[in-house]
Amino acid sequence: MTGIGLLTPLGWGVEKSWKGIVEGRSGIGPITAFDTEGYACTIAGEVPSVDGRGGGGEGDFDPDQIMSAKDRKRVDDFILYAIAAADEALHDANWKPETNEARERTGVMVGAGIGGLGPIADTAIILKEQGPRRVSPFFIPSALINLAGGQISIRHGLKGPNHAVVTACATGAHAIGDAARMIALDDADVMVCGGAESSIVPIGIAGFLACKALCTAYNDTPEAASRPYDRGHAGFVMGEGAGIFVLEEYEHAKARGATIYAEVVGYGMSGDAYHITAPSEDGEGGERAMKAALKRAGLQPSDLDYVNAHGTSTMADWIELKAIERLVGDHAKDLAVSSTKSMTGHLLGAAGAIEAAFCVLAIRDQIAPPTINLDDPEHETAIDLVPHKGKPMKIDVAMSNSFGFGGTNASVIFKKVVD
């Protein structure tokens, strides 16, 4: 991994987002994107923007710096976010393929959990009220999930494999794992990969409310709403943003003198075959994904230093934690596990991507990100859940877990590169 780009509820850019994480700052606030009158949930983790969205202002995310107003008609926000994060990741990696060969060997694998939910809902209203002739020609290309990757490839002239993952909340993790495999199978030398999401729209909030998945208990204290492992957890808080990476073949990165953040050494997948929205009660699906990732990495559970949990601030947090306890056994007392969703909320298809970034930055800075709002742990565990503040510690190996609706599980393992 040689480049990272982030746009999160904690800010625009890797350093701003990471600083917020290490300090244990909450990115959750009242929804500014639409009038929440009549919604049981009125809070979310919006991307702070210059127009005041998400409580932002000067110096925050500025869409005008990414695309003209004319071009933005062609993209929903999740695509805009993906483009912004991809710009940062490619710049960070200093990768600007100019020869045709270099372009053909650079691919894109960017997914989203839901994609253009906003334009779909808005256009359905136009269709009903004004008829089919008033539907915008930009509707479909602004809503399609793979247009995030399509737009990135057009913008940077990347002519390699162009693919998109759609596995709900596991999207970001699958995108990284699958992109790494494409490099391993020699489909490309470099892959731009990750996930993006922008579902803080009326139909998105209403839809997840209907699933009884969203937190409705902390509308007056938004920063306290996402509280994984705490007795007061009450459902997940929606977030938005994007995490994009530049992955490249190891020798390719070495040859051009790129700075290597970490190596993607393990990737494991599984399916629960259990329920459309709930994880299997014993967490065996997630456990199998973690085991598969360790096997692929050639590592033992005792090699893990830090795990970024899926931990959405629901009853499923404990199921996942028990699966980790079973996996690591006596190593539990030496392991740090945290849920950064306590600060960012749940970015759905971008969650696995931004959390992978936090794993890699944890390796870079040797700091485990915290779980905030963990005031009253619901269960006892020997594992350090890193309450409130980031914790300096040795982190050579970090794993990120992401589990999605439909019972899809992915675990990705990152390892410090030792010359």
Binding site: S68, A69, K70, K73, R74, R133, R134, S136, P137, F138, P141
Partner: protein
């Protein structure tokens, strides 16, 4: 300058984010003003809305320049 031309120019400038000096009667949306085929569809929709007319697809295909649009709209409005 006719009223129709001014209104068409305004729509084209707004939708294509085009340099007003370049939006002449002869200017082609695609060749001179940076539009693509989807922009053309959107422009025709905007003309329909602004002038409260319906532009069938076969007529829309022939509207390639600012002048084409003005001529079509004036004829349609007169008819």
């Amino acid at each position: 300058m006719s009223d129709t031309l001014e209104r068409v120019r305004k729509i084209v400038i707004d939708h294509l984010d085009a340099d007003p000096d370049k939006v002449t009667e002869k200017a082609s949306f695609i060749d001179d003003l940076g539009a693509d085929s989807l922009d053309n569809v959107e422009l025709v929709m905007a003309f329909e809305e602004e002038f409260d007319i319906e532009i069938p697809d076969d007529a829309a295909e022939h509207i390639q320049t600012v002048g084409d649009a003005v001529k079509y709209i004036d004829e349609k409005s007169a008819g």
